[in-house]
Amino acid sequence: MLSIKNLHAEIQGNSILNGLDLSVKAGEVHAIMGPNGSGKSTLANVLAGHQDYQVTHGEIKFNGRDLLTLSVSERACEGVFVAFQYPLEIAGVSNVQFLKMALNSQRKYHQLEELDAIDFLQRVKSKVQEVGMEEQLLYRSINEGFSGGEKKRNEILQMLVLEPQLAILDETDSGLDIDALKLVAQGVNAFRRDADSGQKRAIILITHYQRLLNYIHPDFVHVLFDGRIVQSGGPELALELEEKGYASLLPKAQSSA
């Protein structure tokens, strides 16, 4: 589904990604871990097409298409979704209105009929329950006055409603207490196991901590350092990291790089 080869990217002239390779197949969950400044969030932003990041080298193929030639909204419509670390607030636009606009924009892109208010609400309300969100938050302005946990859950709600093929969760666990973390994980697992299309979906979890992986079990774990993936393995790698810290891995990684 996703194939990243030798990706180099920079922001304001500072190179952040230095030859990143990653391959994600449908149905897989990949966790990307790494210390601060290793390029984890940059990867999410580059995949989404954020205008501040310039790709200087390498390629990203998504379902065979060159992702880098697509605009931000085209990528979204093709099925790339990023749950942001710091979701933005937008005054005056209600959550439900935003979701409807987003869903119908994507449906239009795929030449599907737009959902009317009734069908749409039905769909949203069932998803709201899955993430344990209060329904009234739907009618508030986007993320305005939401708590940290509510914002993160709102991102997951958007994911559940939009049903992307590839969901990139950028430190969705940061700033969450254990109850909120469980709810978020529950939402992600529902997305993953959705009987209708679970096999066609993939998830990239960007996280600092192993904690999240207790609730969302990854198929692969990658360690990102200095803009490259320096080690890959199964779930046991995350446990090893948790125990020994990044430092234990890095000298080996650096010498092998």
Binding site: Q51, A76, C77, Q97, A102, S105
Partner: protein, 482 residues
């Protein structure tokens, strides 16, 4: 700086879609202003003597006035010797009696503007008094209105058919001495609309007027007078578009509203005059005096405006709350793009007891636009328990625009409660990115945020205008960023 910014700049630069000129012979006076021009205007309109006398007094007063300079507007001095003060479509000397008699070019112009007069009027149940240049060319639904005793006609017709009403109310809210542009309007106004709703009558339909400026260098001086007698109700809509012109065109309208005991007047405007091109060339100069007088107890006057057009907007729809328990409302969205300038707001003058007023102003600036809210809340010494709530929000799109708020508050009674809230916000690149990451296009993102910002005002518009207003915002702003 970024791809998204460049897109937005291109988007902001969308051209005015209503720019075309109808080829019509016009019967115009030579340019310039003097007493003889005023006498000719009055004579051509076959006005009674009191009108001519009033115009001449206004002209004499205007000569003593200086152009006001207190606003935050910058524009070259207007040469009044270059302005044609009267032009009328020539085709029918006696005036058309039905749509069949109207010149096909005029009808086509309305078609292009999306105003299929007959259909639209019938379908929407709206009586349209269409003003083409200075003379009304069509009035519909008059009969239905006449059945309930509502008079709705062109100002010239009102002067001929109902001189006693005109004489009784003309200039009682905006006297010719009020200000420079009001004096000019009083001297030379060519036409406009007149509406009279008798006691206890609820006007059975929304009243609507479409203005359109067409003749080269013709200043438009409209005058509207609406009188709502005791216990009556009327809702009036006004919408405007104009063709592209290189020369700046002057528009100085006056609107007077009078509400007696328990009467209510709602006045809504969607204004979309040519704003000038990307470089600030052309565009309408709009100097308007709009004022309502709540003369009776429990009277209510509400102004709603959506201003997206004009190069220069100078406009302060106001309410004088003279009757006890009377209410004034002002809901405004003003948008400036490219080099547009707007200095707009309201005055709420509390005189009677227990009077209350609400001001909701939403200013949007994009491109090099400059948007100023200027408002006065005045509570007089007799105005016991006066209440005012004001909210002024500004939204900036891009780096080169500006927003200013000038609230004036004068309170002369200790029981008054006056609240003022103001915010300034910006559509940021990050907000755009966030929405676009969910699959929403840049254009739709901007209009979604703008509509969210304007919602409180759009809600006050009659349904058909709310839809038009949203479309207008999209056209006027196609894609701006912060």
């Amino acid at each position: 700086m970024t791809a998204s910014r460049q897109n937005l700049d291109r988007f902001v630069g969308s051209e005015y879609p209503h720019g075309f000129v109808t080829d019509l012979e016009t019967d115009s006076l030579p340019p310039g202003l003097n007493e003889s021009v005023i006498r000719q205007i009055s004579a051509r309109k076959k006005e009674p003597a009191f009108m001519l006398a009033w115009r001449l007094k206004a002209y004499q007063h205007w000569l003593t006035l200086k152009v006001p300079t207190w606003s935050k507007l910058h524009y070259p001095a207007i040469d009044y010797e270059q302005i044609v003060f009267y032009s009328a479509p020539k085709t029918n000397a006696d005036g058309p009696k039905s749509l069949d008699e109207i010149a096909p070019e005029i009808l086509q112009t309305y078609e292009k503007l999306g105003i299929p007069l007959h259909e639209r009027a019938q379908l929407a149940g709206v009586a349209v008094d269409a003003v083409f240049d200075s003379v009304s060319v069509a009035t519909t639904f008059k009969k239905k209105l006449a059945e309930v005793g509502v008079i709705f006609c062109s100002f010239s017709e009102a002067v001929k058919e109902h001189p006693e009403l005109v004489q009784k109310y003309l200039g009682t809210v905006v006297p010719y001495t009020d200000n420079y542009y009001a004096a000019l309007n009083a001297a030379v106004f060519s036409d406009g609309s007149f509406c009279y709703v008798p006691k206890g009558v609820r006007c059975p339909m929304e009243l609507s007027t479409y203005f359109r400026i067409n003749s080269l260098n013709t200043g438009q001086f409209e005058r509207t007078l609406i009188v709502a007698e005791e216990g009556s109700y009327v809702s009036y809509l006004e919408g405007c578009t104009a063709p592209i012109r290189d020369e700046h065109q002057l528009h100085a309208a006056v609107v007077e509203l009078i509400a007696l005991d328990d009467a209510e007047i709602k006045y809504a405007t969607v204004q979309n005059w040519y704003p000038g091109d990307k470089n600030g060339q052309g565009g309408i100069y709009n100097f308007v005096t709009k004022r309502g007088l709540c003369r009776g107890r429990n009277a209510k006057i509400s102004w709603t405006q959506v201003e997206t057009g004009s190069a220069i907007t100078w406009k302060y729809p106001s309410v004088i709350l003279q009757g006890d328990n009377s209410r004034g409302e002002f809901y405004s969205v003003a948008l400036t793009n490219n080099y547009q300038q707007a200095d707009t707001g309201t005055k709420m003058i509390h005189i009677g007891k227990n009077t209350s007023s609400t001001i909701i102003s939403k200013g949007i600036s994009a491109g090099h636009g400059s948007n100023a809210y200027r408002g006065l809340v005045k509570v007089g010494p007799q105005a016991i328990n006066a209440r005012n709530y004001s909210q002024c929000d500004s939204l900036l799109l891009g780096e080169n625009c500006s927003a200013h708020t000038f609230p004036y508050i004068e309170v002369k009674h200790p029981t008054a409660k006056v609240e003022h809230e103001a915010t300034t916000s910006k559509i940021s690149d990050e907000q755009l990115f966030y929405c676009m990451q969910r699959g929403i296009s840049q254009e739709d993102t901007v209009s979604m945020i703008i509509n969210g910002f304007c919602k409180a005002v759009f809600r006050k518009l009659p349904m058909e205008f709310a839809v038009e207003a949203q479309a207008l915002m999209e056209v006027s702003l196609e894609g701006c960023v912060g």
